[in-house]
Subunit: 169 residues, 2 copies
């Protein structure tokens, strides 16, 4: 099977498949005499596995270290460990999300709870003060990490609490 066909069957683009090969996720691809890549039917499964793992929140790096060259010989221990840790990561993220959601809901309520005798400016200040008071500022949560945030096509990131001493060296 040539790369175009594999692309169709797996739902990926040829460029993406080549990229995966480039970073060592797909190794030992066969070549025809003319230089064209050629894949065994099994490749569809490997790609399916990769995108499933991605959706579950694994980075390509993690996937690479877990993927055995031979699909029938997994490192059972490492795999279980990774799965378990990923679940923990997800749970940590869920906690964070629940907090964020609650925080936003409280904020909305607070905004709407403007005392009748208070003008918008004063209310804005009140809300802001409340909000910042709620946020211990520079709290450095330091928990696990996870990447899991697309749904459709997004790229994102987030990274507060990375601080460098502005202090004396």
């Amino acid at each position: 099977m040539k790369i175009g066909e594999l692309a169709q069957q797996s739902g990926l683009t040829p460029s993406r498949i080549r990229f995966y090969e480039q970073i060592g996720l797909l190794k030992a691809v066969g070549r025809r005499p003319n230089g064209y890549r050629t894949y065994p039917p099994q490749a569809v499964m490997i790609l399916g596995l990769i995108i499933t793992a991605q959706r579950a929140g694994f980075t390509l790096d993690e996937i690479r270290t877990l993927l055995p060259s031979d699909l029938t010989h997994w490192d059972h221990a490492a795999l279980m460990d990774a799965l378990t840790r990923k679940i923990a990561d997800i749970e940590a993220l869920q906690v964070r999300l629940t907090q964020s959601r609650a925080h936003l809901l409280r904020l909305i309520e607070d905004i709407q709870a403007r005392p009748d005798d208070m003008d918008c400016a004063a209310n804005a200040h009140r809300v802001l003060t409340n909000m910042l008071a709620e946020n211990p500022e520079a709290l450095d949560v330091t928990s696990g990490d996870i990447r899991l945030l697309d749904t459709k096509d997004r790229r994102q990131s987030l990274s507060p609490s990375r601080r460098k001493k502005t202090a004396p060296r």
Copy 2:
């Protein structure tokens, strides 16, 4: 207040503060005769607001469009709308996470449920097949987006379902 002091009080680095100014998040910073930036005490609050919003899942872009130049004059409607939509985004992500978590748990169980008479290789194949069957492949979830994933210092992303016709043009 000079930038170093503001950095200390807000917990951000000077470079990050300059960066925020550069992208138009912090406007009209004062300058001393020597060229040094100078900030009003209020700036600490503005930065606190920005990092709080970031933690809640807003991008700097979103924050910029919502942040009024005058902290007492918010676009109430736009703000409420953004908050509400962000909550919806969070909820969508929570759903996704719950599914991912369940998926991983099922996977773990499935791996451990190896029939006594089956060897590892065959079991691997069985699990793989089950997993891929569960995944309708190329499902293109297409929901809202959100960025909310740091806790400590990470960058991440995820983006399946971006597909280009490999087909005839």
